[in-house]
């Protein structure tokens, strides 16, 4: 519980209306999209100016109050679950697109700008901001940077980190700091913008970003390739890239997911198919035609039983409809959806799928897997009911096993969802003691009182 005088101090900075301390309001900020237990904050504040953000951070530090920044709260690793008794700082009022510069192809934005709104504003100016996490309609750019979010276009266009040129932020004392530049090249000082990427609110409170923009591709072609099993699909993925074609999207769906999508969205997928790939190539029209043909040929040579190339925008949309429906179709099958993002080198996808199969059997779990085959980023999705404690216990065991398997195959704990609370316990498994210690020292130096999103990434 914070005292009345501290509450008053926050209110004098952000205004009475922007401080919430009613039980019901605090409960609204006790959870995020991760399936973890809620924790009640003691106060929720919603600054509407940058100045106020700095003052809020300083107030927290001066009073030793843990502070958890919340964008849209769509992260899947518990990153916005507050610390007990801590403060939640909402960024969604800081939603100005300050500049979209067409000449130098960059944009300056505030942290609370919604990703899809930004991408649309950029597209309206004839430019392109590629990172497109599945949550982009709701997620904020600040959340994207803090999680280093990726999307369907990661394979060819990279992820959020590839577009962050500069980050302005408040340090734990509430001082306003700048890093990076609007120039393409910038080696002034430490590479602080990239230090901030993926920091999940543990090092500073970010306020504005300079983001790189690129010219949009002139043409694109989408297709759906159907395979009898996972092996043939994975072989095709490797062969496409070995043949020096880098599709902008290369998505994978297993048999279970195909069945779920067909059952719910009815987009005409063959439910007996072992797996399918959704592929899109883009770029110059000539190159697109050539690459599409190559991809088609490679898939056929590697055992694809049917390949459908979208002839126009309507058909292209149909291809993506299937992919977009994946999570929702799975989510409708059971009450609780545990979406993971274990990632392996793409050549190891068959081995990972085999491991998932074994895990599902061993722990008696229903797992549907889809994801970004091009970058080995799979989304094994466990369907369960979190109210069934026995079942949920098996789920937790299964999740442990999934990460162990990914690491064994030379993969990583998280391709895009971050570590947060959910995976901090595995950190040493992927790295080692020294690396975790290094990060802890860094954190200690920047946040001596350990108030910036404590417990996230590095544990307590």
């Amino acid at each position: 519980m914070v005292s009345q005088s501290i509450k008053q101090a926050f209110a004098s900075v952000v205004g009475n209306d922007n401080v919430m301390d009613a039980e019901a309001d605090k409960h609204s900020y006790s959870y995020d999209a991760a399936v973890l237990d809620p924790v009640l904050p003691s106060l929720v504040v919603r600054p509407t100016t940058m100045e106020a953000v700095g003052k809020v951070v300083k107030l927290c530090n001066d009073n030793g109050l843990p502070i958890t920044v919340r964008g849209a709260g769509t992260n899947l690793s518990g990153g916005t679950i507050p610390s007990k008794g801590g403060i939640v700082l909402l960024t969604n009022a800081l939603d100005q697109i300050i500049e979209i510069n067409e000449e130098d192809m960059y944009a300056v934005v505030q942290t609370g700008v919604i990703t899809a709104k930004f991408a649309n504003a950029v597209a309206a100016k004839g430019l392109f901001y590629p990172p497109d996490p599945g949550s982009q309609a709701a997620s904020t750019l600040g959340g994207n940077v803090a999680e280093n979010a990726g999307g369907l276009r990661g394979l060819k266009y990279g992820v959020t980190k590839d577009y962050v040129m500069g980050v302005n932020f408040f340090d734990v004392d509430g001082n306003y700091c700048k890093s990076g530049s609007k120039t393409v090249k910038c080696v002034t000082g430490l590479n602080i913008p990239q230090l901030m990427v993926g920091s999940e609110g543990t090092l500073a409170v970010m306020s504005e970003f300079i983001l790189k923009l690129v010219p949009p591709p002139q043409a694109s072609k989408a297709m759906m390739a159907i395979f009898p099993d996972i092996m043939t699909a994975s072989r095709s993925v490797s062969a496409i890239i070995a043949n020096k074609v880098v599709p902008c999207t290369l998505e994978f769906m297993d048999n279970f997911t195909i069945g779920a999508v067909e059952g719910f969205a009815k987009v005409g997928l063959p439910t007996d198919a072992g797996s399918l790939l959704l592929i899109e190539v883009d770029g110059h029209p000539g190159q697109v035609a050539e690459e599409a043909e190559k991809v088609e040929k490679i898939c056929q040579e590697n055992g694809c039983t049917r390949l459908q190339v979208a002839k126009d925008a309507v058909e292209r949309n149909k291809v993506w409809e299937a992919r977009r429906a994946a999570l929702s179709s799975l989510a409708r099958l059971r009450p609780t959806t545990v979406l993971e993002d274990a990632t392996v080198p793409r050549s190891k996808i068959p081995a990972m799928m085999e491991a998932l199969d074994k895990i599902a059997k061993e722990y008696k779990l229903t797992i549907g897997t889809f994801g970004h085959a091009g970058d080995g980023n799979l989304h094994p999705t466990i369907l369960c009911d979190r109210r069934d404690t026995e079942e949920f216990h098996r789920v937790e065991k299964g999740v442990d096993a999934i990460f162990a398997a990914a690491l064994e195959l030379g993969g990583t704990l998280s391709g895009e969802h971050g570590i947060g609370l959910a995976k901090s316990k595995y950190m040493e498994l992927e790295t080692n003691k020294a690396s975790v210690l290094f990060s802890k020292r860094l954190k200690k130096a920047l946040d001596p009182n350990n108030i910036l999103n404590p417990g996230k990434i590095l544990g307590d």
Binding site: E23, P38, L90, S135, A138, R332
Partner: protein, 429 residues
């Protein structure tokens, strides 16, 4: 009054629906209220979480949950966009009934729902009195929209720009019961409160359409409110009273369709009555099921049943833009038919506005309780309409028509607000 434990038990029965929410937050991207306030408790995810915490006794303050639950347009945008298929509006309606049973209905609402809506004779007389005297209290502000404002009543009504009550309600036509004509069809006409008392022109247009196409009409004038406003306030008793009164008139089902000019009324028959009428007898529930199968929006009827289709626009056609009412598009899936109905009039040129299916902010009694947020949402709708440069805006829901009229009138726009069926009826001799 129910005790706390009983309420928790009832909330617990909702649990199966509540747990389907995976807290993904995607509803934030479509909730018109969240867009204004940025508060998690205003969007579906936050409300569902609160209900879950309350039902598991993790949260004590039922009144606070009710306040947050009540702050919702019930527009269904969240449900339509939810990847998990959470039946958000169903949950909210049920939860409102449960929590209201526990806390009790506010005296004002009690007076309106129990004292007026369910006593149609009294209600109609009061309104008739209002109609007589409205001219003394209000002054006209916009002749195209037909709105006025009232300095005298502003403590009650704020700065709203209101449409007048009709001189004579639609029901003054008297009971209708005509035989099927050339179409071979007979329909029941459920006009709904607002069309009866304010937009009588919409009712007349519909009767003209029926006549033109040779459709027999059964229109009993003892019909009462569909009950959604009572239910939205958690007043289950008034809701069930109203349903029973209507079932007495329509329960025999000796017609092919029951047609309404209002997305909310149609979705009430279609969806809300079957869902909520659990306190009713089996015989009554059978009648409800029958009505659910026959209920149809007038636009859908004109296109899907009467087969009216598009014609070429004539030279000098007026520009009309379309607002897609939430209940019409999001819960009934009627939007293409509205466009066809308008394009069947050669004197109209349809221009789409951006975000035609974004809620106008009315939300029934939401507008009364949260007028300032309601207005903020409504202003955005007004801006989208104004940006099209249209002469007319068509909306297939009388409540939306009222809200849009208020917004356009306050902005001083000279844009007429019409129900699509009025514009279609203009083409009929």
């Amino acid at each position: 009054m129910a005790d706390l434990n009983q309420m928790l038990k009832m909330l617990g029965e909702l649990d199966d629906q509540l747990v389907n929410c995976m807290r993904c937050g995607m509803c934030q991207s479509v909730c018109p209220l969240f867009a204004e306030t940025g508060r998690e408790s205003d969007v579906a995810r936050g409300k569902i979480a609160l209900l879950e915490f309350l039902s598991h006794e993790m949260l004590k303050d039922a009144k606070a949950v009710k306040d947050r639950l009540d702050k919702c347009l019930l527009c269904g945008s969240c449900a339509a966009a939810c990847p998990s298929g959470v039946k958000v509006v169903d949950i909210f309606l049920k939860a409102r009934a449960i929590i209201t049973a526990y806390i009790g209905l506010s005296p004002v609402k009690k007076a309106i729902f129990r004292g007026m809506l369910t006593k149609p004779a009294l209600f109609n007389n009061l309104l008739a009195l209002g109609t007589k005297f409205q001219g003394f209290f209000t002054s006209p502000v916009n002749d195209i929209i037909g709105s006025s404002c009232s300095k005298l009543l502003s403590p009650l009504l704020g700065d709203r720009h209101l449409l007048s009550l009709a001189d004579k309600p639609l029901r003054s036509i008297g009971n209708l019961n005509t035989a099927p004509g050339k179409s071979g069809l007979k329909v029941a006409f459920f006009y709904g409160c607002v069309v009866d008392k304010m937009f009588t022109g919409v009712g007349e247009a519909i009767l003209k359409v029926f006549k033109h196409h040779g459709v027999g009409v059964y229109m009993p004038i003892d019909q009462v409110c569909c009950g959604v406003p009572s239910l939205a306030s958690g007043d289950m008793k008034s809701f069930e009273d109203l349903v029973r009164m209507n079932l007495k008139l329509f329960g025999k089902g000796d017609f092919d369709y029951i047609i309404t000019p209002c997305g909310t009324c149609t979705s009430a028959f279609h969806h809300v009555w079957p869902l909520m009428g659990t306190g009713l007898s089996q015989a009554e529930r059978d009648q409800i099921e029958m009505l659910a199968g026959k209920a149809m929006d007038i636009n859908a009827f004109i296109v899907d049943i009467l087969g009216v289709s598009v014609v070429e626009p004539a030279a000098g056609a007026k520009k009309v833009t379309i607002h897609d009412p939430c209940h019409l598009k999001k819960s009934l899936g009627v939007s293409g038919q509205v466009r066809t109905v308008l394009k069947a009039n050669p004197n109209l040129n349809v221009v789409e506005m951006s975000g035609s299916d974004v809620c106008c902010g009315c939300g029934g009694s939401f507008n009364l309780q949260h007028y300032s947020v309601s207005t903020k949402i409504g202003k955005k709708k007004r801006d989208s309409i104004a940006a099209t440069g249209a002469d007319i805006v068509a909306a297939g829901c009388p409540a939306c028509m009222m809200q849009i009229a208020d917004m356009m009138s306050q902005a001083g726009d000279r844009v007429a607000i019409k129900h699509p069926v009025e514009l279609y009826a203009q083409t009929l001799g």
